[in-house]
């Protein structure tokens, strides 16, 4: 019998990864196990035995080869890499009652994860700006106008994401001032 599959569209901002983890765990408890991304914000699930999984997300912008020791380390520690999608690494592990399972065990490393994304988003915005200006200078064809509009929209989203990440970083830093 073929495995039943569904695809769900759900949007999470990069600083809402804990909500995303909770949602994936709830899906697994209902018997729908996350298998990979079918596209941006498109989650693919396969039918299976309802299982209590802990899902954890990390974000890395290094290449697969650079991350071979990283993947080995997570595997050794009992984390299954479900999939990797545009820098996001989706890990899971069967939940053990009374035990907490985390890939980040202190505030500093949680902050560092958001800072990596913040740096990436800031860099993207900085790269975008001169491209937009250069396009503005070129002939004002209808195509250029549409292109400028789309790029401006993307720039706003990028700056918005960077701002959201910045807020999350500062929320964690307040916590980091009293505990590790």
């Amino acid at each position: 019998m073929e495995t039943e599959r569904i695809c769900k569209f759900k949007w999470f901002w990069p600083w809402q990864d804990e909500q995303e983890e909770a949602w994936l765990a709830a899906m697994s408890e209902a018997g729908w196990h996350f298998g990979g991304m079918a596209g941006p914000a498109m989650y693919s699930f396969a039918r299976g035995e309802p299982t209590r999984y802990v899902y954890r997300l990390d974000w890395q912008d290094k290449s697969k080869q650079q991350l071979s020791d990283y993947r080995q380390l997570f595997q050794d520690a009992g984390w299954e890499l479900v999939t990797e999608y545009s820098g996001w690494h989706y890990f899971r592990k069967v939940a053990v009652p009374g035990q907490t399972a985390d890939i980040f065990t202190d505030v500093q490393s949680k902050i560092a994860k958001y800072e990596r994304q913040f740096a990436f988003m800031s860099m993207m915005s900085v790269i975008f700006l001169p491209i937009i200006v250069a396009t503005m200078d070129s002939v004002a064809s209808p195509f250029a106008k549409v292109a400028i509009f789309v790029m401006l929209l993307l720039l706003v989203v990028e700056v918005g994401i960077a701002a959201g990440l910045w807020l999350r970083i500062h929320q964690l830093k307040r916590l980091g001032a009293i505990s590790a």
Partner: protein, 115 residues
């Protein structure tokens, strides 16, 4: 110019994770062995997740407190450097003071002592 002592002082105090990671690297060890060792050494009070450890490796290596020892089947083995040993020794002195004063305070915190 920075003196050798300042070079050690700027890392202090270490976070609990860094402290345990450096302790576990007195001998060459790879990631998962460190995680298990920390769990055991700390009597279950501290645990280090793979995400935290991976980040710590790159920071500590960049700062020259640990260095790659060898690699075995995608597992990197690290060990303390001379600088790392100095930082760890200085941290241990701080921890000893904290523990000493803490054990005195613990007596006062016992409920029967307060009557």
């Amino acid at each position: 110019m920075m003196s050798a002592n300042d070079n050690v002082q700027k890392y202090l105090p270490l976070t609990e994770s860094t402290y345990y990671i450096l302790l576990a690297l007195l001998e060459p060890a790879h990631g998962y062995a460190i995680m298990q060792n920390v769990e055991q050494m700390s009597e279950g009070t501290a645990s280090i997740g793979p995400g935290t450890l991976y980040g710590a490796f790159s920071t500590l290596e960049k700062e020259g407190l640990i260095a790659k020892h060898h690699e075995e089947e995608r597992r990197k083995y690290y060990m303390l450097t001379e600088k790392g040993r100095k930082v760890l020794a200085a941290q241990i002195r701080r921890v000893e003071i904290m523990a000493r004063i803490g054990s005195v305070a613990a007596l006062q915190l016992q409920p029967e002592q307060r009557a």
